[in-house]
Symmetry: C2
Subunit: 233 residues, 2 copies
DNA sequence: ATCGTTGTTGACCGCTTGGTAACAAGCTAT
DNA sequence: ATAGCTTGTTACCAAGCGGTCAACAACGAT
């Protein structure tokens, strides 16, 4: 396209700035790249990205030695600092009923996660085999899944995970709820399929359904784990 | 994998056939292409696919006018005929308890769906904006989600969807279970993350948890829908 | 053998791709 | 101004891409 499209008819066409300070241009490129790669996949072309920025693709390579380096910056920009450290404590704060703790966590969590760029780049890099997804899921397991299981145990008057380690069934029950929430995001941003308009109602239902529905799983799998443990002596 | 791996050292290496009848070669290409595109994405190169087949990329274009045409055949090969028509009736067969019907459906369903090629091509084409995913989800909604909701209604002694239309909350509750199952597939084939070794136990837990946990959602949302309906007169 | 048929090849075309280098256009200080 | 640094563009490269085509190699029938 015409790079200098400042319609030659205008005498003083507001003179849109074409030369930006380095730091600002760099930030601008990263931001546009995140949106761009989320849309077109990680294989999207730098030339097209440049076009959207109104610069040439060579300009991008002034700021990033390679496309890979740009992608690394995009990952950093999208995934770092989106985790609120307060969340971990939130689930364990027993001054409130368990269900409202979990509801509140997922309400805040989805506010960060239900994002076109976040979800799609996550899936794109998962498909490419990058380690973003496994590493992130390991974090979720430690900071969300396990704490929730521990709290459910406490809520049901069951022994804590230190005494009787969490079983696969219990962990999977917690993943079910997490999966439901993330599946909503996939439905929306990957499949382009509508999701319920009342998201907080949905989340609240999911949490209640999880707590109600998986109670017996916790009771059952803990008691059978206890049984196996006692048999050892 | 390598069909013609005739290690050049052998004097009479059984003479692995290089010239195949057209129909067989075509079938072979489609099958290899499905595996290949599932692995490398829909942007994978025909030359590399050809290399895996032990032929040149030109040979592929003898059988398929364009890469797009090959992809169409792959879609057909992967997604057509994987739906068992008996499934629709399965959920509605009231001679058995509802939970075992649903468990059985999802057991059979996952047997078809938990497949590297199926899941990844599904997600790849979803990200590209092809209509495979939305169309498929519409089918799931009609043939699985809605029937399950109707059966839950009947099981709880609630009015059928003809009388009181299904609410968004009820439908979403059923999607929760479906999403959990599909999220397992995504964890495995997209993120490369382990899933429980006892899949049938997990599915059975998920179904029980759904039926137990969403009972109140059905009761509540039906009664409020009835209330709204009566108010009209 | 010889012929036509058919699967396969290798060289080639035009376009796109990430990446480079030389040069032009702004800004700022003197 | 103009020197000097910074920012951006033009023009280019080499490799890779989907797709084409003429020639060739393997078969079956005669």
């Amino acid at each position: 396209m015409t790079p200098t499209a400042d319609c030659p008819g205008h005498p003083t066409p507001a003179k849109a700035r074409r030369r930006l300070p380095a730091a600002e241009r760099e930030r601008q490129i990263v931001e546009a790249a995140a949106q761009f790669f989320a849309e077109h996949g990680l294989g999207g072309q730098t030339r097209e990205l440049a076009k959207e920025l109104g610069i040439t693709h060579s300009a991008i390579f002034r700021y990033f030695p390679t496309k890979e380096a740009l992608l690394d910056r995009v990952y950093e920009h999208v995934y770092v600092k989106r985790w609120n450290p307060a969340w971990t404590g939130l689930v364990c704060d027993r001054s409130q009923p368990l269900s409202s703790r979990i509801v509140r966590f997922y309400a805040e969590y989805t506010e960060q996660i239900f994002d076109f760029v976040w979800v799609r780049i996550f899936v794109f890099s998962g498909l490419k085999g990058y380690d973003i997804a496994p590493r992130y899921l390991a974090t979720i397991r430690e900071r969300v899944i396990h704490p929730i299981c521990a709290e459910v145990r406490a809520d049901l008057g069951l022994p804590d995970p230190e005494t009787i380690p969490l079983t696969e069934r219990e962990i999977e029950a917690a993943w079910a709820m997490h999966g439901k929430v993330f599946y909503l995001a996939i439905r929306k941003f990957v499949y382009g399929w509508p999701i319920p308009h009342n998201l907080s109602q949905t989340i609240s239902d999911d949490v209640t359904s999880f707590l109600e529905g998986s109670r017996f799983i916790f009771l059952e799998s803990v008691s059978s784990a206890e049984f196996r443990k006692n048999k050892q002596y």
